[in-house]
Amino acid sequence: MIGYALTFAFACFGLGLLLNIYRVVRPPTKGDRILALDTMVINAIALLALFGILKGTTMYFEASMIIAMTGFISTVSYTRFLLRGDIIE
């Protein structure tokens, strides 16, 4: 059962990623592209969690954590660039 659920979740997040990349390709505004990237990072973290379940290993936890951190930082950087030009002064 977990297997099916897992496959379903994989498919959902995989499809989500594809939708994200579509938004990256055609963003209505500049902010949307950043938002899409941010969503992509979050989906990727979810995929990593699913992958961990699939393989029965916690080895990928650090990656999730670091990706979450860097995803946040990069989103803030991108938006700050659009807001101020200078992101740390």
Binding site: L18, I21, Y60, S74, Y78, I87, I88
Partner: protein, 960 residues
């Protein structure tokens, strides 16, 4: 009696050592300087004289010093008759020239320099004639070119001097280079570069298929040096040199180096038809052409220069005949020419010096004003014309006699006739030298009033003229022995030296008569002939040479600047083409076994990742001109690559990649703030297509290579099996990648953190420089509205600041965690460093760099230095245990309540890594921040812009 051989290196060295003196002694006055210049020459001459008895006995003195034995280049000297003749001439005339130059040079001329160059030249010439090693000879040979370059260009302010010097250098240099090849071939055939060996190898050399190339190459050197046709054109232009130089180099010595070498090589190279045809023909043609041109030169020195060309041709002709008798005559004429021509040059110099012109058209009638000079010049010129009984007559007569019996081309008398024509011209210009300079009516329009110079200046030519006469009258007494021993050296046998004044009514006699009468007639007809000459178009060597060198220079400039035009794009394109092409070349010629690995099945999620990666990359290429968009897309690419690392079992790589990537993008964003936001569309369709083709080809090559690798196993087992097996046992860690990094290959990591440290130092220095220069001034006048998006308010948003206050400590905690566990789980110093840097970065984004930096105590330089130092000292620490650099150790501590704590020296090393990373990233950010502040970004007082508590004045309002 080889003991006299020890003098040889001293003789050769004395001028060189002496060359140091004039520069020092010039402070002590011109006379002192002259004395100190003459001293080594005299000393060398004296030593040479000590060798004379042995040489006259037919001995060959030698002396050997090893220089570069493996090549066969050794300082081997020898002195035989030929060497003696030339060395005597070089040193003897050299001495006279020094005396003459003392009086010739004016006070404005830097005499010390002149004498230095002169002695250098003298040393080189002596070296040539004493060398027993042809490679050593080459060394000296080229040295004469160099020193003569300096001497010809001595009057730097004269363009003719500079040009003449360059021309001489290029032409004789060219010959010298050819000769290098010739000598190497010769040495190769003979099996040695020692002359004494080579001279015994006549049969082997002449039988070798390489004989002709060697001959041509060597003769190229000889002919250029001795100004033989068609290389004769440089010599007259070298006359821009001061007259002592012309007299010394261009009559007596350097130009005879080519003759010397032909004579030196005569025993092994001469006697073949090739030798005869090349050498004799060149000599003959040169003799005639030189003489003819000399007749029509109005510049005294040019006249003498071309006459020199002619006489050198004559001697070349004699050597080219290949008979022993002719070789004897050649030796004799070398002596004679040296005496009369040096004397003539000096008289020309005297005229120039006194009358301030060398233009024959402005001279004439000087015999009353300068009787001594007139006498000297007349005797020498008559000798040059071959008028009996002077020495020039003797050798010319003997030459005519030789050619009269030689069959060249066409009818049997052809060579005789051509030689007679040469002699005729020779008579004509010699007479002209006397008649148009000294005879005729005295004029009133000399540039200055000429008179005979002081004794010092005419002594040297007078002495030479005395020799002219003495040898003329008593050839056997004054030159016989010298001719004999030198000819003996050339011909290798006991030559028959018999010099007569009267040979009877032999062909030579009639030829002489024709020459003298014809010469006189020609002089009488000089004016109309001169008009004819001037009316005849003829190639001007200097114009041609200049045209060639200018064209060469321009072509070189065009080629060089055209190819190296600073276009990085094209250079990169060349790179991108060359690499796959040569890679393919390497690949195609090798074999390839069938695949050995079963491919992994394609899974859904990685396939999605693959699609996203490809889409993002393609989009990046399409939208690359929108720079911000490009960075967002680059972020996606980086994310996908990191996920790929995770998927394919490389958690450490994923962590590193993603952290590095975000820091990189932030750096790029920071830089982009100052750069144009758009890349202009500059390359046209064709270029884009070309680049596209190159790029796709490169990509295809990489794909092919990667695929070929992925479907095959290692040919031999990877060394990493050892790492897996020993990681825990030997390195104390279960994260094999980390153990490799800090232990097995810790030295790589050591280098790697140094790269980072250096990067930071470079960035810091760069920023400093840029801010101090025009870049800083430009930044100061920066208009923030250049930002196309404009600038929103709320520099330091409240929410971000507050969130950071919680997240930064958490992030630091994560950093500590990643650092501590790196040895056993994914992580380690580098990633921890980046995480800590990112934590700080968060703080900087929240409240600004300057505000944050003001609140912390460590300097980034120190952090980097400390990091490198800790890493290095950890490595060095192993020395104390007698182990190599970076040998690690580990163990376990047991302190309750911390149950078991593993320590490893690798952790100290990792700490170094950590500190370097943090310092490097921070220093880079600091640099960018300092740029931003230069644009007028103010340093905020408060951590956040909006803070109602501040206005409220409440407890938490005082945050600063």
């Amino acid at each position: 009696m080889d003991s006299a051989g020890v003098f040889l290196p001293i003789i050769a060295a004395l001028p060189f050592l002496g060359a140091l003196l004039p520069g020092l002694m010039i402070q002590a006055g011109r006379n002192t300087c002259t004395v100190f210049t003459a001293a080594p020459t005299i000393l060398a001459l004296a030593l040479l004289m000590l060798c004379v008895p042995s040489v006259l006995r037919g001995e060959v003195l030698t002396y050997h010093i090893d220089w570069l034995p493996s090549l066969g280049l050794n300082v081997n000297f020898m002195l035989d008759g030929l060497g003696l003749l030339f060395a005597g001439m070089i040193l003897g005339i050299g001495f006279l020239i020094i005396i003459y130059a003392r009086f010739y040079l004016s006070r404005e001329d830097p005499m010390g320099q002149f004498f230095t160059y002169l002695l250098l030249f003298q040393g080189a010439m002596v070296g040539i004639v004493l060398s027993d090693n042809i490679l050593l000879l080459l060394v000296f040979w080229e040295l004469t070119s160099l020193s003569s370059f300096l001497l010809i260009g001595y009057w730097k302010h004269l363009p003719e001097g500079r040009q003449g010097a360059r021309m001489a250098l290029v032409v004789t240099g060219m010959g010298g280079l050819a000769m290098i090849a010739g000598m190497l071939i010769l040495g190769n055939i003979a099996g040695s570069y020692d002359l004494s060996v080579i001279l015994t190898q006549k049969d082997a050399i002449q039988a070798s298929p390489m004989y002709l190339p060697a001959l041509i190459l060597i003769l190229a050197g000889c002919f250029t040096k001795s100004a033989q046709f068609p290389f004769h054109f440089w010599l007259p232009h070298a006359m821009a040199a001061p007259t002592p130089v012309s007299a010394y180099l261009h009559s007596a010595t350097m130009v005879k180096a080519g003759l010397f070498l032909m004579a030196r090589m005569w025993p092994v190279l001469a006697g073949t038809p090739e030798w005869f045809w090349i050498v004799a023909s060149t000599g003959l043609i040169t003799m005639v052409i030189g003489a003819k041109i000399a007749l029509f030169k109005d510049d005294l020195k040019a006249l003498l220069a071309f006459s020199t060309v002619s006489h050198l041709g004559l001697i070349t002709l004699l050597l080219g005949l290949g008979t022993k008798a002719a070789a004897v005559v050649a030796m004799f004429h070398i002596i004679n020419h040296a005496t009369f021509k040096a004397a003539l040059f000096m008289t020309a110099g005297i005229v120039d010096h006194e009358a301030h012109t060398r233009d024959i058209k402005r001279l004439g009638g000087l015999r009353h004003l300068m009787p001594i000079t007139f006498t000297i010049a007349t005797v020498a010129a008559l000798s040059m014309a071959g008028i009996p009984p002077l020495n020039g007559f003797l050798s010319k007569e003997m030459m005519l006699e030789e050619v009269a019996h030689t069959h060249w081309i066409g009818p049997a008398w052809m060579m005789g006739a051509v030689a007679t024509l040469g002699a005729l011209f020779s008579v004509a210009y010699s007479f002209r030298y006397i008649a148009h300079v000294f005879l005729g009516r005295q004029r009133h329009d000399y540039p200055t009033h000429p008179h005979d110079p002081g004794f010092g200046m005419w002594a040297a030519p007078a002495f030479l003229t005395v020799l002219v006469v003495l040898i003329g009258f008593m050839p056997m007494t004054f030159a016989g022995d010298l001719v004999r021993v030198s000819a003996q050296a050339v011909t290798g046998g006991e030559p028959h030296v018999k010099i007569y004044h009267w040979h009877g009514l032999v062909p030579a006699f009639w030829m002489s008569v024709v020459a003298v009468i014809g010469g006189a007639v020609m002089l009488a007809l000089h004016a109309p002939l001169m008009r004819l000459w001037n009316a005849t178009p003829r190639p001007e060597a200097k114009v041609m040479f200049d045209a060639v060198t200018r064209a060469a220079t321009r072509g070189a400039t065009a080629l060089t600047d055209g190819v190296h035009d600073g276009s990085l794009m094209r250079n990169a394109a060349v790179f991108a083409v060359v690499v796959p092409v040569l890679g393919w070349f390497a690949f195609a010629a090798g074999g390839m076994a069938p695949p050995t690995r079963e491919p992994l099945p394609v899974a859904l999620v990685p396939a999605v990742g693959w699609i996203i990666l490809l889409v993002a990359t393609a989009l990046l290429v399409v939208y690359h001109r929108a720079r911000f968009t490009a960075l967002v897309l680059l972020g996606i690419v980086g994310l996908m690559v990191s996920l790929g690392f995770v998927y394919f079992s490389a958690p450490d790589l994923a962590l590193t990649q993603i952290s590095v990537e975000v820091v990189t993008i932030i750096l790029l964003l920071l830089a982009l703030n100052f750069l144009p936001r758009e890349t202009p569309a500059e390359s046209g369709g064709a270029r884009r297509l070309r680049d596209g083709v190159i790029a796709v080809a490169g990509g295809a090559a990489v794909t092919g290579l990667t695929y070929a690798i992925l479907v095959r196993d290692f040919a031999q087992e990877s060394i990493s099996a050892f790492h897996l097996a020993n990681s825990y046992k030997g390195g104390g860690g279960t994260n094999v990648v980390n153990v490799i990094l800090v232990d097995f290959r810790g030295y790589d990591t050591f280098g790697e953190i140094i790269v980072l440290g250096i990067a930071a130092l470079v960035i810091f220095a760069l920023t400093d420089t840029v801010l101090k220069g025009p870049g800083g001034r430009w930044l100061a006048s920066w208009d923030p509205d250049t930002n196309p998006e404009g600038q929103a308010g709320d520099r330091h948003p409240l929410m971000m600041v507050v969130a950071t206050r919680v997240m930064m400590p958490i992030a630091l905690m994560v950093g500590a965690y990643i650092f501590l566990r790196g040895h056993n789980e994914p992580g380690g110093g580098f990633i921890a460093g980046l995480i800590v840097a990112i934590a700080f970065l968060m703080q900087y984004m929240a409240s600004g760099f300057a505000w944050a930096e003001a609140r912390q105590r460590v300097t980034y330089h120190a952090t980097i230095g400390l990091g490198v130092l800790i890493a290095a000292l950890t490595g060095v620490g192993a020395w104390l245990a007698g182990r190599p650099f970076l040998t690690s150790d580990y163990g376990y501590l047991h302190y309750p309540p911390i149950e078991e704590f593993e320590w490893a020296t690798a952790m100290a090393f990792d700490l170094g890594v950590f500190l370097t990373v943090v310092g490097a990233v921070m220093l880079a950010l600091q640099s960018l921040s300092s740029m931003a502040r230069r644009t007028g970004e103010t340093v905020n007082v408060f951590p956040m812009d909006v803070n109602p508590a501040r206005e409220e004045g409440g407890e938490s309002g005082g945050d600063t």
